[in-house]
Amino acid sequence: MNADAPAISRQPKTPIWLANLVDKYTWLVVILVALFVLTFAYGMITAPNFLTWFNFKTIIRDAALVGIMAIGLTFVTLSGNFFLLSMKETAALAIVAFATAMSAGYGFELSFLFTMGVAVVAGALQGILIGLGGNPIVVTLGAAGLFFGIASWWSDNLVISFRRPHGAEWLGSGSFMGLPNITVAFILIAIVAELVLRYSTFGRQVYLIGSNRAAGKATGHENFSMAIKTCIIASACSAFVAIAFSAQVSSAHVNYFSSSFGSSGDMTILVIATVMVAGNSIMGGFGSSLRSSLGAVFISTVDNMMVLHGFNSGPRVLAVGLMIVFSIIVFALVRRGSRVQE
């Protein structure tokens, strides 16, 4: 009887929605997420000039480059091929290719096609090896060294610049309806990728192979061609980012995407982090490209907020890293025991 009394008195105190949440996700997760949301909201309100339209545009613009790469990588991750460790190096190769072609005077269209061709070859090479059964992490680690070496050798480790005015200026510094063109490209690519993944046959095949490779094989959808296709998509997205970046600064160097890029360290790791922070399952089959785009916006928001609070790069990288580890742990706890996790 004594044991019953506190239980009865406690019952009305926890609201139904909270009880349901706890039932579903356990206390630990709910408390962690609540803490995080509170910190985030506090930072948002106290940061000066955070809640303005101009700052919002800045956030989206910062998210664009990483976001486009992350969308490309999402295809690979969704198809169950983990991730590519060569995103940055593919971009380095592409930026050198683009700038070389531009400085040789081939014009934007030809240079664009040439760069995309290089990216497709690079992606297909990795895709073939992955499709044959090589481990994606190791294959792309090797490919990363290879591409970076080729790019450095090709450019002699020098900065290649091409003079303004050039044909790519509209992509680098132009704007459309008040938004920079790169932002517009990011939004368009995000929409197209989501539509492709959701409604096209190819998109459904990606999900099928990612969630159940055996079933995919039994129904005639081999991972071999899928790995090649998804790797080409990821490489093409990297190349697009490289072109956009090169168009902005009218030059190219292999180290543009290395540790000095942005505030949060290495581009490859940032892209992978973006894909994972959004809760895409690394084992494939669960997630969407919309998640990745939102993840990019989210990381960029946190970064922006900390810049407005006046933090140095150390605490900012630390915060982004903490957030990634945090989201990995929370998503793992939420999905514990489900098939998505194993």
Binding site: G134, I137, V138, F148, G265, D266, I282, I328, Q341
Partner: protein
């Protein structure tokens, strides 16, 4: 008499090669690389170069060893470069105030602890190590940036770098002797203790190992703490030897260490390979590195060669996997045919 012993030696060698094809391949590759550089460059096969190779071995060997253990357990530790950078930053920063030994002990303790926590979470959450270690890669970079205050930290007292690179016994220095001791200890641990065998079990056949009652937490924590320890020790050696440390440095260790591990004969499926393989693999990478330096190759070309080497090893491994599956499939098909043939015969014999 001498003839018979000769034959028995050859047959022993043959037996060894058949039993350890991966190790034999690693030895062959190492000898080839060494031979190529020794013949193409007069200065390569000298005592001084050997000393330089052993100096490189001190750091890369540790990373190769750590990655070998991780891959044996069926996982991969991507955060190893960041962990080493963190240790380097800590040791260089605190050497002046605490003394080199205390600072190194603190740095190694922190790195090992980081590895231990990683291993615990990987086993507890049942996630792939790559998922968590990508996160910790970034996190540790942030921590080391924070610890270094976004600057390159430097030693003021240069007696310690001198001591670490003192020549001993012709080829060795205190650092490389220490690393060799670590190698021997880990080799004994992996070969003769239950914990070491558990790591092989968890890597080679995880489901079966778990079903037979191994707690996933223990091997994972052991593997990742060894990995953290190796990264920490490697970072300390690099930091103290060069006298400087950068928070964003040492990222090249991952590629070089992975190449070393794969040359040493680990399989990405886990459960294969060993410490001797790691040593030979690292030596091969070091021969390549040092030899390329002799031929005045820029640093990025070394990366290119390492990438190509890794891809080649992967192609070989994938090819042998495909061949294995093909053979197994043929065998199963043959067995099925056999059974079907027997059934048909029985039907024919039976009157109904």
């Amino acid at each position: 008499m001498s003839n018979s012993s000769n034959i028995s030696f050859i047959s022993k060698a043959k037996l060894w090669v058949t039993n350890n094809p991966d190790l034999a391949f690693a030895v062959l590759l190492a000898v080839c690389v060494y031979g190529y550089f020794a013949f193409s460059n007069d200065l390569f096969a000298t005592h001084r170069t050997t000393y330089a190779i052993m100096e490189r071995f001190a750091v890369l060997g540790l990373v190769g060893l750590a990655l070998t253990l991780c891959i044996i357990a069926g996982e991969i530790d991507l955060s190893i470069g960041s962990n080493a950078a963190l240790a380097a930053v800590i040791v260089v920063r605190f050497t002046d105030s605490l003394g080199a030994i205390n600072a190194a002990l603190i740095a190694i303790a922190i790195s090992t602890l980081v590895g231990l926590i990683q291993g615990y979470f990987i086993a507890y959450l049942r996630i792939r190590a790559i998922v968590l270690t990508v996160g910790t890669l970034m996190l540790l970079r942030g921590v080391s940036l924070f610890a270094a205050e976004e600057k390159t930290v430097m030693l003021t007292d240069f007696t310690i770098p001198d001591f670490i690179s003192t020549k001993m016994f012709m080829y060795f220095s205190p650092a490389s002797l220490l690393v060799i001791a670590v190698f021997v200890a880990v080799a004994l641990f992996m070969q003769f203790t239950r914990y070491g065998r558990e790591i092989y079990a968890v890597g080679g056949a995880r489901k079966e190992a778990l079903a037979s009652g191994i707690d996933l937490k223990r091997p994972m924590m052991v593997v990742f703490s060894i990995s953290g320890f190796c990264a920490g020790l490697g970072g300390c050696i690099i930091g103290l030897r060069s006298g400087t440390a950068q928070a964003l440095g040492l990222q090249y260790l991952l590629l070089a260490g992975t190449v070393a591990a794969f040359i040493g004969g680990v399989s990405i499926l886990g459960g294969r390979g060993g410490v001797i393989g790691a040593a030979i693999g690292t030596l091969t990478v070091n021969f390549l590195n040092t030899g390329l330096v002799f031929n005045v190759t820029p640093a990025f070309m070394v990366q290119l060669y390492l990438g190509v080497l890794l891809m080649v090893v992967i192609v070989f491994q994938t090819g042998s996997q495909m061949f294995d599956t093909y053979q197994r499939r043929q065998q199963v098909l043959g067995d099925v045919d056999l059974v079907r043939g027997e059934l048909l015969n029985k039907k024919r014999e039976s009157p109904i």
